[in-house]
Symmetry: C2
Subunit: 263 residues, 2 copies
Amino acid sequence: MTNPALLSPEEARQLIREEKWRNPTSGMANGYIQANLAVLPKEYAFDFLLFCHRNPQACPIIDVVEPGEHAPKIAAPNANVKTDIPKYRIYKHGKFVEERADVIDVWDENMAGFLIGCSFTFEQALLDNGIPIRHQEEGCNVPMYITNIQCEKAGIFEGPMVVSMRPMSERDAIRAVQVTSRFPSVHGAPVHIGNPETIGIKDINQPNFGDAVTIKKGEIPVFWACGVTPQAVAMHVKPEIMITHSPGHMFITDLKNEQFSII
Amino acid sequence: MTNPALLSPEEARQLIREEKWRNPTSGMANGYIQANLAVLPKEYAFDFLLFCHRNPQACPIIDVVEPGEHAPKIAAPNANVKTDIPKYRIYKHGKFVEERADVIDVWDENMAGFLIGCSFTFEQALLDNGIPIRHQEEGCNVPMYITNIQCEKAGIFEGPMVVSMRPMSERDAIRAVQVTSRFPSVHGAPVHIGNPETIGIKDINQPNFGDAVTIKKGEIPVFWACGVTPQAVAMHVKPEIMITHSPGHMFITDLKNEQFSII
């Protein structure tokens, strides 16, 4: 089999569509934007899009699958988002119901799909700049924390910001701000650097999601807004149905990481 | 009377609300973001917000007045957008009907108001960098042109991009790209530099809106996406009712220009 990193986005999606790839998508179609998915009934669509617009660091919208469509017009016009993700999760009234390989018969013409930027893009930019990523070194999930930072409300959607944390040297932290500021569509600059208590995190070794990682002597924690935020906020209103990707199993777009750099 | 440039946004809006100021707002409350207004029935709200999201250079959303509200939560929580603009225009089925000092009895709870970034912010940044602005020097309106660049469609909204043009030296054009790239929320970097025909403009001396300006020897035309675009696109679908600001009579927000710089 071809090295998954060398596949084109179209090839990667086809492999997934044919259920020949059921694994996490990290490292597939290297250099292309991968996105989180949140599918909601269309009566929530305006409020949710406005919520994302008002909270661009936590909820950077890459593109939207409009009601009645199956592709995001700009991000991947030839895709079928109902089949091109390895694993989906279905929630009813805010409760997890089942995991599936496709959602053709669940995602109907009354639902809109939101593709939300993920941290893979800026992590690549950090690596390209020689900044090591601890959870990759330790082979675990990035640690994520619920903060005391309230998102800007929009319609029925509100809730706290969830952040991910990467420890690094103070010198690297400055470079990380520069590097990630170039990518506002995939979470952008950190929301916080330093003392976890400032943003309401009591114990850095007890993340709310993901795994704890080692913080070495001389390192400081650097926090970015996390794409878990919009899913948590959407779940909170307990919509009759909501579809998401399964963690780590993302949608691969036709857009190159560098296209999302603003300078 | 106080110098209008030195008023706070709150003071400027109060003067306007009391109908003591009926003039264009250029130069008022210096340093604060001013915005274009487009108010549409809420059945169009999701499609229009998505259209703006997909065309951020032409339609940079500053904030939204949600249905049933009269203030934009983030941009000016204490304002009343139904009274705080010096002159409004009302369109029915795409046709201009009347101009008014307030729209309290027209803008009902079934309409959403979109505040869209305007060029005042980046023009100030150009001036701060010593780049002269021709239409200001010549005391006329900026020239605007309908291009052959199609906006990205969203739902029922589609149409060509309208651009504004500022001639400058080639040296200044490079600096202008750098300076305006910092402000993606107020049109950002130019969409085109140089030959007008490339983007479908046949005669640079015959703008579709605004006034022609002098292009001196050694200068090149620099084109930015223009906030007229979303209004033109919205008008095209002939909504039963649409409210806009009257040209030059903008909404003054509480947000400082520099807050909208991404780096």
